[in-house]
């Protein structure tokens, strides 16, 4: 792939020079969440280190997508806490009380995190270029000319320099998903969340999206990826977490989880998806 970096070298203040006790990029502690009577997340605790790729595996309904969506407050949690970059998500702690954040602060927190959806969710009335630019221009209030210049480079980088003025409906699924990745990156996030980014794609188009994600990982982006692509997990993940029915069954390096699987439940799942 091209040598132009996907993320700016000076973009994210890396954690080396941050407070010692806050080394994790994302910290889940005792997170729980229910939809009505159904508890989808039970006491989830783990960390995602900066510049690392964490792959979340699990059958549908295991809570992995919900967990991902809690990180940027598309869902709210009922118990425990999530910290991104040392900052508590959704609340402010003051005098022993948790105060719900105002919309302004919620938006600011969300901007640190990029998200890529299963169904792309591109804005159909905007061109590829406009999709990439709307966040930085409208939310970050950055200079329009500079944003457009950067957006051109980003689209070039995900291999879509020739589709700049195309509308989403005129693009293939793989192209749309790459635009969606460029759109998230345009916000210069410190963390990227991928919610089954290749599940809605034709098998032939999966590779082009995974290639972009691999490039991103190689450049040191912190990523949480919900996926069923075991090959990708083996190759790219630093850590793998396997969830079932709202709890973490097993976690570790790809080698530990895939080659030295400890739990029968994980083995059953892997036997089915491999």
């Amino acid at each position: 792939m091209s040598t132009v970096p996907l993320i700016r070298e000076d973009a994210a203040p890396r954690k080396e020079n941050a407070v010692m006790s806050q080394t994790a990029m994302v910290r889940f502690s005792r997170v729980s969440k229910s939809f009505g009577d159904h508890q989808v997340l039970k006491d989830i605790t783990f960390n995602v280190e900066p510049n690392k790729v964490l792959v979340l595996l699990g059958p549908s309904g295991s809570g992995k997508s919900t967990l991902l969506r809690c990180v940027n407050q598309l869902e709210t949690i009922d118990g425990g806490r999530i910290e991104v970059n040392g900052e508590l998500v959704g609340y402010k702690e003051k005098a022993g009380k948790l105060h719900q954040l105002h919309e302004r602060d919620v938006l600011r927190q969300r901007m640190q995190t990029g998200m890529v959806f299963q169904n792309f969710n591109l804005f159909p009335h905007l061109t590829a270029l406009e999709n990439v630019c709307i966040g930085p221009v409208r939310a970050r209030k950055q200079n329009r000319a500079e944003v457009y210049k950067r957006a051109h480079a980003l689209l070039e980088r995900v291999g879509l320099g020739h589709r700049t003025y195309a509308y989403p409906r005129q693009m293939s699924g793989g192209q749309q998903q790459r635009v969606a990745i460029a759109r998230a990156l345009a916000m210069e996030p410190e963390l990227m969340l991928f919610d089954e980014p290749t599940s809605a794609l034709d098998p032939e188009l999966v590779g082009e999206v995974l290639d972009v994600m691999k490039g991103l990982a190689a450049e040191g982006m912190t990523m949480i990826v919900v996926t069923h692509e075991i090959g990708f997990a083996r190759e790219v993940a630093d850590n793998v977490v396997f969830m079932d029915q709202g709890v973490i069954v097993e976690s570790g390096s790809p080698d530990e989880v895939f080659n030295n699987t400890r739990h029968q439940r994980t083995r059953d799942f892997l036997a089915k998806v491999l």
Binding site: R110, M111, H125, R138
Partner: protein, 325 residues
């Protein structure tokens, strides 16, 4: 419709040769019968229009550009524009109220729509016109002895024109609220989530993401509403607002040429509504961008296509695009 026309693209060639075998085309005698009936009716209409002296076309044309009529036309157009602007702005607000998470706003929006849609517009117009009978003085302030911020004499404030604007505008807002609400609800939830993850605020999300997409659903019925409103403004003649119809009525009340003058007014309504329809098709085309791989046809293309169909019908009976006859 589109599948039918593509199907017929294939059968439009002048001669079909399937190898050596001669092709005998299917005959459609029923279509010719229908054409004959229509032609007969048109002939009757034309005959009476040209031979019946009571049409008094001279009177139709002599009043067509009369100052009173043009003034009335101006009032009709102005009322339509004002009612539609109120309808769009207030309708959007009411639609957002009805979609709000706040139950009080939700209920208030529902109550507004229920009340305004539930009472005939004619009744509302007469009611607003006579509001001074109920409130001789209109006070704006805190009730139960609180301070009064402004006070109006209802008879001076509520002129016939104000009553007309109020009646038409509120009525339009109620209908537009439902149309806009439907449009907003047609936008996929994922769009809101995508906007949220980009850090876009509520107002930006509504203005830049939701409404532009909802427009595709909102525009066609809004065009119909505008056309309907253009004709509905004629109701204001009951409160003596000098719109196109009322100006016409004033003239035939003096010269008793009721039919020629009503024809004259109808011609004006038809002309302006035709113009509105053309504008509507261009708007629909604009807001359909990005939703289809090919942009839809404009009125000009449609007319061109129908003209083509007509020509083909006259040339060869077999190739009349069927399905709608």
């Amino acid at each position: 419709m589109s599948s039918t026309s593509t199907l017929h693209e294939h059968t439009r060639q002048d001669d079909v040769h399937l190898g050596e075998t001669k092709v005998v085309r299917l005959k459609h005698p029923g279509r010719w019968l229908a054409v004959a009936v229509i032609v007969l009716i048109i002939a009757m209409v034309i005959e009476t229009m040209f031979t019946n002296p009571r049409f008094r076309w001279d009177i139709v044309w002599s009043f067509f550009l009369a100052p009173q009529i043009l003034d009335g036309l101006r009032v009709t157009v102005t009322l339509t524009v004002i009612a539609m602007v109120i309808g769009l702005v207030l309708g959007t607000i009411v639609a957002l109220m009805r979609l709000s998470a706040n139950p009080v706003l939700k209920a208030a929006g529902f109550a507004f729509v229920w009340l305004v849609r539930g009472i005939p517009l004619l009744v509302q117009l007469i009611f607003w016109y006579n509001i001074s009978a109920l409130f001789p003085v209109i006070n704006i302030g805190i009730p139960f002895g609180g301070p009064v911020f402004a006070s109006f004499n209802a008879n001076t404030v509520m002129t016939a024109y104000t009553a007309a604007i109020l009646g038409l505008g509120l009525n339009q807002a109620a209908y537009m609220a439902e149309i806009i609400r439907g449009g907003i609800q047609s936008v996929d939830e994922g769009q809101l989530e995508a906007a949220a993850t980009l850090g876009l605020g509520r107002i930006t999300t509504i203005g830049r993401i939701v409404l532009p997409q909802a427009m595709r659903v909102i525009i066609p019925p809004t065009g119909n509403e505008t056309i309907t409103m253009f004709k509905t403004t004629s109701l204001v003649s009951v409160v003596a607002v000098a719109d196109l119809l009322y100006s016409t009525q004033l003239i035939y009340a003096r010269n008793f040429q009721t039919i020629p003058l009503l024809i004259m007014a109808s011609l004006w309504y038809l002309i302006l509504i035709s113009a509105l329809s053309v504008g509507q098709s261009y708007l629909e085309r604009y807001y359909a961008r990005g939703t289809k791989r090919n942009t839809p046809l404009t009125m000009r293309h449609h007319i061109g296509r129908h003209y083509g169909n007509l020509r083909r019908l006259m040339a060869r009976e077999q190739n009349f695009p069927g399905g709608r006859a």
